[in-house]
Amino acid sequence: MTCERFASGKSILHSADPRVKILLAIGYAVVTVGLGSLEGQIFALSGGLLLVIAARLSLKEVFHRLFVVNIFILMLWLILPWTTPGTGVTHLGPIVITAEGLDLALSISLKCNAIILANLALLSTSTIFSLVHALAHFRVPSKMVQLFFFSWRYFHVIDSEFHRMKQAIKVRGFEPRSNIHTYRTYAYLIGTLFIKSLERGERVYKAMLCRGFDGTFWLLSHFRLHQRDFYLAGFTSAYLFLIIGVDWINPCR
């Protein structure tokens, strides 16, 4: 399973320090969520798009991701315009479409997509390991970091184990349907997966003990800030201030 689809590349966003990128991503999300004006939200969305372009991600892949997420947003577009109280714009039979509802749906779509684009450019360009490593530098409790690290390390192992078992039931002619047989098969599949992972967890712990594990999680390599990190942080935060300014000037909806 290839999850870290965007993590390999040579752009400035790929080579930047993950600590800087995490801070920028959080900043971008917090600023965008708080935006009240249409202009501010459009600026946020274009900023996200600029970041994605700067990261030289495959636009086709990016839009595919956006499409999946926007299914939920589409649901909001179908419901919010007629459930929001406000001034009516048009009638669709007995249903009144309100301007406030349309505004709300638009603002959610803009904000959500802006944050997703920024996250794609800032976070998905790092591997999960380097993000977790950066979290350790932010004084996240060691137990949490270890959990993150092991979960991600063994996610792939368990995923391939799962796919092996799934192939095995498929070979034996299993076809998922809405009946108790399907449910029982899935339940046993999941139960087996749990037992296998628990047993593997015990083995892993014993192996770690053999190698002198005493609860400390050693970090051998450390990040170093380069000039490009300062450029990235400078440009992005300047843009964030620009968004805040635009939002401040323009009226809140």
Binding site: A29, V69, L76, L104, K111, L147, I158, I195
Partner: protein, 409 residues
């Protein structure tokens, strides 16, 4: 069951974040270093299992399994679910960073509660009662999560109420499917490796920590909700009509907003809209107390009470003052005395217009003063924030003291 970025209101996000941080702290404290690989591998297994799509009727849904996660992990579900959601946010852009707290809380609190409910039964026996508890835990965790998701949406604005109802209803078949699956999975585990469930892992029941995790977010949300509705409604009775004006605390008029008039029994008497000046008038059908409710959208809402006395009941039919030509009046009433009545009305209207002007000039400063006072009362002061933080610190201190005591025993 992920809520996307940009949907939830800031107080809901903050409340979710605060609750999740607390839950993570408790979960990590209760997890021994020796358990880390085991918990991590279970987290990974759940993440894999959540990618399975199970057919339900004509459609299919992906598994959530937070009930079973609660049974197996207890308080440690908080870090486990947090990690799963973090991976989903970073890898697939489902959910998001700002909603991570709220999403974690919505899934982990039901898991902890349902796990605590089912575990004692599972430990003591493995008969019908234990299986019934497992089914309740599996289905109940989904129902509770759906209710919490719906609640966090509904608290973010009145527009989301319909969406939240839809989400809740959509999760009912998923809850049934998960209840069935939970029973099958747990009975499989009991047969093949009973020590997973019967072992003494996380034997303590949740108590004070859970209470504080539930109460603190609720406090934060309600505290901010109380201050969010800053729209003011002034209503009075001028001997003939009930007049009302809606203001936002910024001083803007609440125009084109819906106004509901309810009588003392709570029955709707009339509903209409304010005009471009935020004004509204209505001729009451009789004596009594009327409650006016102004809905200015986005959760802005104000109420005012008006009592009407000294009015001859029966002569007046409910009608909107601004409707101009009186549509509610039936044609039979337009009899001989109509011309005289019209003339009478004309003179009254003239003088009342003049009177209104004079009164406005005199009363506007007073009204503004009142508005400013009301606003001051509603504003969230720095003092209030410090007090709130004090409460949180105090509650946390109490929780820590009690858990410490328990550990010493």
């Amino acid at each position: 069951m992920h809520i996307s970025e940009g949907v939830l209101a800031a107080p809901v996000l903050l409340a979710g974040g605060a609750g999740t941080v607390l839950g993570l702290a408790i979960g990590l404290r209760r997890m021994d270093v020796r358990e880390i690989p085991k918990v991590a591998l279970l987290t990974a297994a759940f993440f894999v299992a959540s990618l399975i799509h199970v057919p339900i009727g004509v459609s299919s849904a992906h598994l959530i399994l937070n009930g079973i996660l609660g049974i197996l992990l207890g308080w440690t579900v908080f870090p486990a679910i947090f990690i799963g959601l973090f991976f989903q946010a970073v890898l697939f852009q489902f959910g998001g960073l700002t909603t991570l707290g709220a999403n974690t809380l919505n899934m982990a609190v039901p898991a902890v509660i349902m796990g605590a409910l089912a575990r004692p039964a599972l430990r003591s026996n493995s008969g019908l009662f234990a299986m019934a508890m497992t089914a309740i835990a599996g289905a109940g965790a989904i129902i509770m999560s759906a209710a919490m998701v719906a609640g966090s949406l509904a608290l973010s604005g009145e527009s989301f109420v319909a969406v939240s109802k839809l989400i809740f209803v959509a999760h009912i078949p998923i809850a049934i499917a998960e209840g069935v699956l939970s029973v099958l999975i747990i009975s499989f585990l009991l047969r093949t490796k009973p020590e997973v469930i019967k072992g003494n892992m996380h034997s303590r029941t949740p108590s004070l920590g859970l209470v504080s995790i539930i109460i603190i977010p609720i406090l934060i949300v309600f505290y901010s909700q109380a201050h969010a509705h800053k729209v003011n409604l002034f209503a009075w009775y001028d001997g003939n009509m009930i007049l009302a004006e809606g203001y936002f605390s910024s001083g803007n008029k609440a125009m084109d907003s819906t106004i509901l008039v309810l009588d003392s029994g709570g029955k709707e008497v009339f509903h209409g809209m304010t005009d471009k000046k935020g004004e509204f008038s209505f001729k009451p059908p009789g004596n009594g107390e009327y409650r006016l409710v102004l809905e200015a959208g986005m959760g802005h809402r104000a109420e005012a009470l008006v009592s009407v006395q000294g009015m001859e009941s029966g002569t007046a039919a409910p009608e909107a003052g601004q409707a101009g030509p009186q549509t509610a009046e039936s044609p039979e009433l337009k009899g001989d005395g109509h011309a005289a009545e019209d003339a009478h009305k004309g003179t009254v209207a003239l003088t009342s217009a003049e009177l209104e002007q004079i009164l406005d000039r005199k009363l506007n400063p007073v009204k503004e003063q009142l508005l400013r006072l009301a606003e001051q009362r509603d504003r969230v002061c720095f003092r209030d924030v410090v007090a709130g933080l004090g409460y949180i610190a105090g509650l946390m201190g109490l929780a820590m003291y009690l858990t410490q005591k328990k550990q010493k025993k």
